[in-house]
């Protein structure tokens, strides 16, 4: 536990010291949403929702990808001898979910500002978008660990990740659609539970499989 916190602190510190990468991703969010605004103006609810989740997906791919790509071989070996693979993976997962939560909130604010805000139940939508960002970042963190082993890793992330994430993304879109009206659906809880189970499964699989990826 201590090791995880230490590793998490290290990642956070690194992010504050090398601010260009954080600003880079923030700027990425801002410019994508701006381009979208220029292209679409203020679209209707359904389009808005679809666009929001697509942008979330792209932000996630770009924001999370660097988590394994930025570490070079020597440093990986150092972490390995210091803390072990599972702690390392867990700290990365935690860090990326935090990052993604921040980016989700920012994305929503920008969407509200530029593309208009059709959401009637703001808190619910915010909760869903953070929860969804959480799931996306878990999957993509593990995939970036796989992609880091392959050549052309950024392109590889997209190829490996998009088919895996489609189901989750579709469920999230359905889920967040409920935030556009005040009506409460029965299936809401069922979907949330399903997504939460999926997230838990991803974490467990990542922890079991990561040590095998690591060995070299």
């Amino acid at each position: 536990m201590k090791k995880i916190i230490a590793l998490l602190r290290k990642d956070l510190l690194l992010e504050f010291r090398q601010q260009y990468s954080l600003y880079g991703i923030l700027l990425y969010v801002a410019s994508t949403v701006f381009v979208l605004y220029l292209a679409m103006g203020q679209p209707e609810d359904h389009v808005w929702n679809g666009l929001f989740w697509m942008i979330q997906l792209f932000i996630c791919v770009n924001g999370v990808a660097k988590s394994f790509l930025q570490e070079n071989r020597g440093r990986m070996l150092y972490y390995y001898s210091l803390s072990g693979a599972r702690d390392f993976m867990l700290s990365k997962l935690l860090f990326n979910t935090l990052l993604m939560a921040l980016l989700s909130v920012l994305c929503w604010l920008l969407f509200g500002l530029l593309l208009g805000n059709p959401v009637s139940n703001g808190w619910r939508f915010l909760g869903i978008s953070i929860f969804g960002g959480f799931g996306l970042s878990l999957v993509f963190t593990f995939l970036s660990a796989i992609a880091a082993r392959a050549q052309q890793n950024a392109a590889m992330m997209a190829i490996l990740g998009f088919p895996l994430i489609i189901t989750q993304l579709l469920m999230l879109m359905k889920l967040s659609n409920t935030a556009f009206s005040q009506v409460v659906q029965d299936s809401l809880l069922q979907m949330i539970l399903l997504l939460a189970a999926l997230d838990a499964g991803v974490v467990v699989l990542a922890l079991i499989l990561f040590p095998f990826l690591w060995k070299d």
Binding site: F142, I146, T167, L209, L213
Partner: protein, 212 residues
């Protein structure tokens, strides 16, 4: 082989129950539905071999895993095509974004990505390990897509809201006698047969390389 030959005959001339909407197209149960059974079985065998590879580190299991996946992909494509032919007559168009169709397409994409990942790695051991990890991860991510989501969403597909594959009540005894002992094992064994041939060729090639 014998099973498939019998199937070809019985599947076309054998008696079937006349049900509304599906009518004679229920014969596709022998082909389309059992192909999905074969695909799922082949992918599961590939999964078991990937796990075995990670546990033992023997390259043999890696070859098994890839070849079973390849055969699974062939059956996935066959299943999609037979389904689309069926849908063309029953629903009026081959593709209508039914949850079951999208699920199958996603499965195909995932396993094609697996092959691309393998292609991008040159080192044999690294390739085996990384692709085994992705294979296992992908299989478990696929379970909700193929087994859970279709049960939740509405669909035109036979079986409707419940069973992801077919409506178990549609078939009568005559069909079950053909389906379970002939169609499902027939297609699966065909897949296994193709796979074992390919595995043997691969292993021979490896040996040739070692002796050269």
């Amino acid at each position: 082989m014998v099973q498939l030959l019998t199937l070809a005959v019985v599947g076309i001339v054998g008696g079937v129950p006349a049900k509304p909407i599906i009518n004679e197209s229920i014969r596709n149960l022998y082909f389309h539905v059992s192909m999905w059974f074969a695909m799922m079985i082949l992918f599961t065998v590939a999964l078991v071999n990937a796990v075995k590879y990670l546990r033992t580190g023997k390259l043999k299991y890696d070859i098994y895993a890839v070849e079973y996946t390849n055969a699974g992909i062939v059956f996935c494509i066959l299943g999609l095509v037979t389904g689309m032919i069926w849908a063309n007559y029953t629903w009026g168009k081959p593709w209508s974004n039914d949850p079951k169709q999208t699920g199958a397409a996603i499965a195909l994409l995932i396993y094609l990505a697996y092959l691309v990942l393998r292609g991008s790695l040159t080192d044999i051991d690294k390739r085996a390990r990384v692709s085994a990890v992705y294979g296992i991860f992908a299989f478990f991510m696929l379970i909700p897509t193929l087994w859970v989501i279709p049960r939740l969403l509405e669909s035109l597909h036979p079986g409707g809201m419940g069973n992801p594959a077919f409506n178990t009540k549609d078939a009568d005894v005559r069909m079950r006698v053909v389906f379970w002992p002939l169609a499902v094992p027939g297609w699966t064994l065909l897949g296994v047969w193709i796979t074992t041939l390919r595995i043997r060729i691969r292993i021979l090639e490896e040996k040739k390389l070692q002796h050269a």
